[in-house]
């Protein structure tokens, strides 16, 4: 057994886990943060994507012990109280989800790509950056639209007239 401690959504958490425990299992079963999903066992779907030390990673493809000492943000940690994060608000506004299963991973991935590309994030880049996030419902159109709208709003470069109604920026 291993003693681990990390910061999750701004709070320090400590537990004893087996070395073989996956980070996603730790997040869902030990921390009860069930917004992070498991959609496959081949590391391909992205439903489990979280932010690990500032980078989007697949929490199903990491051991919880590897994250000892890390800073983690899950979907539960991005809103400011009742106020949705601009990416969440844009998904709501632009119908970026249907069943919602892929959405937590999509949103964490979207925040990560907006951080990296800023106002240079165009539609083609969004589509290629979504390579690791699979959605079985939407056909991606509205996911791409949501991410573009959020990126425009967050970087203040809105050139389209479809700006998000979110007031959370």
């Amino acid at each position: 057994m291993n003693e681990i401690s990390m910061t999750v959504n701004g709070e320090t958490v400590s537990h004893t886990v087996e070395a073989r425990t996956l980070l996603v299992t730790y997040i869902r079963d030990h921390l009860k943060l069930t917004g992070t999903h498991i959609g496959c066992d081949t590391s391909q779907c992205g439903a489990c994507v979280i932010n690990f030390n500032g980078k989007a990673v697949k929490s199903c493809t990491m051991l919880a012990v590897q994250a000892d000492g890390a800073e983690i943000t899950t979907i539960e940690g991005i809103a400011a109280g009742d106020q949705l994060h601009p990416v969440q608000a844009a998904f709501k506004e632009h119908h970026g989800l249907q069943c919602g299963f892929c959405t937590p991973g999509m949103i964490i991935a979207a925040v990560d790509m907006i951080n990296r590309y800023g106002n240079t994030l165009d539609e083609a880049t969004i589509r290629s950056e979504l390579e690791g996030n699979i959605c079985r419902c939407t056909g991606y159109q509205n996911i791409v639209k949501s991410i573009k709208a959020a990126a425009d709003e967050m970087t203040g470069s809105s050139m389209s007239d479809q700006s998000s109604t979110s007031s959370a920026s």
Partner: protein
Amino acid sequence: MFHLTYHRPTSVEDAVHFFTNGADAKFLAGGQTLLPTMKQRLAAPSDVIDLRHISALMGIGSTEEQLTIGAAVTHAEVAASQQVKQTLPALAELAAHIGDPHVRHMGTLGGSIANNDPAADYPAAALALAATIHTNSRTIAAEDFFTGLFETDLQEGELITKVDFKIPTKAAYAKFANPASRYAMAGVFVARYADEHVIVAVTGAGSDGVFRHRDMEAALSDDWSVEALTPTSMNESDLLSDIHGSAAYRANLVKVMAQKAMKTMI
């Protein structure tokens, strides 16, 4: 997954020491290959040794002749590195198209070449860029390093520390990615050196993993043009044939990718 013991060394010596003391130990770099394999119970190491906290395996440096990348440097770091973009843009480009952003944030150069997946991208770069692979005990030329499907010249417990890539005058990599996995169905790395000799390395297609395409190398060393590739050919019996594509399909794809790589350089 089965029971295992986790180690987090901060030096190469300690990593090797933990490996030697483990019954059936495995180095764990980005985990983007090893963990999926363990989840499917195709691997069940007694010990995993995390390489992500060893500073000697990090870092990127270059001289006029070569670019050196630490074994634990991630694909995302290579893709974003100004130094790589300036000295060997084709390598930054290659790294930027491995898998997806999340895989690139974790997966490492050392893990990729140690694994030697027949459809992985870095092995093609290592061969075409006449790489030298440094380990905790010796140096190995890329030519001698890749020995077959998922096979390398690495000995039990031998740890890759860094890789030197020779800097060519021109280089390009073209890959036809499997639409589902993003691994190469055929990936061709073409590099030309100051003395005008050319190395062409092919991944994704060979039934023995990455290989050099000598026929294309001779043609391009002789005549540096897209047209020079037209008469070159491949022995289909040396190529993979699977659900994703027949050997004949891959043979054609190899030529098309080589032409595509050449077109970006001429």
